[in-house]
Symmetry: C2
Subunit: 160 residues, 2 copies
């Protein structure tokens, strides 16, 4: 069977990033949405692999495109995982709200009480991904830290 | 041409409710989304009429149903109009965020800065409407008043 280089699995099974809490959480989230059992025989590395968007893979995706259900699931997994981390860190329930138009633009929010703890514009949703799992972790940590700071500064609103 | 009673236009052209600011705003919003010019020859009363959901009309709609684009447009018009009123009242930009699933459940938010000024669960979206224009105005006024109170209590967060 011929496979393009961009279809090879890039995440290694012994990648230490696989042990990071946000990655663990994303695996749980992704497996939870797999209603057809496709992932049953897949390693965590393989489940996460499509989230790694190298330059090569990006080049293989058309510039303009409609985001499909699978990509929206990945985006939701990312924001769900961050919500869980914010919840653990602040002790207050965090709720992700993802809004994506047919054209692949949108907005991702994480609400904590009446506080918008995280607000991100989504662009090029059909090419959603990260250069590597380490970059994913770094991006998520930055966003979670900023959100938790906001919650701690405005706890009265976050507890409403 | 045979028309069911439930298809008759219930909003009268001389209804004083048509002069209310929120209704004026909703007409603007609804006409703005009418890209095919269907409303060009319609009176304001006729444009607003489908928002009046009497018991009779409700009975004519299946209990379970997928919300179509036209209904989502009406819901957006309602929350856009309220956003405009909150903006006018508080002097801070208000942004509606509408999230509706295929099954007709969802959530409507109005964000003012980092504050969730309004947060409403949407149910039975395919039967969205109000008993009369007066009830629409009353409901909107209640929601707008509550949202503005929240903004004024937490202006620091609303101005973020």
């Amino acid at each position: 069977m011929y496979e393009e280089e961009s279809n090879q699995i890039l995440v290694q099974d012994d990648d230490p990033a696989l042990q990071h809490p946000i990655i663990r959480q994303m695996v749980i989230q992704l497996r939870a949405t797999d209603s057809y059992g496709t992932f049953d025989t897949w390693s965590d590395a393989r489940v996460l692999d499509p989230l790694v968007m190298t330059k090569e893979r990006r080049r293989a995706i058309p510039i303009v495109g409609d985001p499909d259900e699978i990509i929206i699931t990945r985006i939701k997994a990312f924001y769900n995982a961050m919500s869980q981390m914010i919840e653990k860190e602040t002790g207050i329930m965090a709720t992700p709200v993802i809004n994506i138009s047919h054209e692949g633009f949108g907005r991702a929010l994480i609400l904590v009480g009446k506080l918008v703890a995280l607000d991100k514009t989504l662009r090029d949703v059909h090419r959603f991904g990260f250069g590597s799992l380490d970059i994913l972790i770094e991006d998520a940590n930055k966003l979670v830290t900023k959100a938790c700071e906001l919650v701690n500064e405005h706890r009265v609103v976050a507890e409403l």
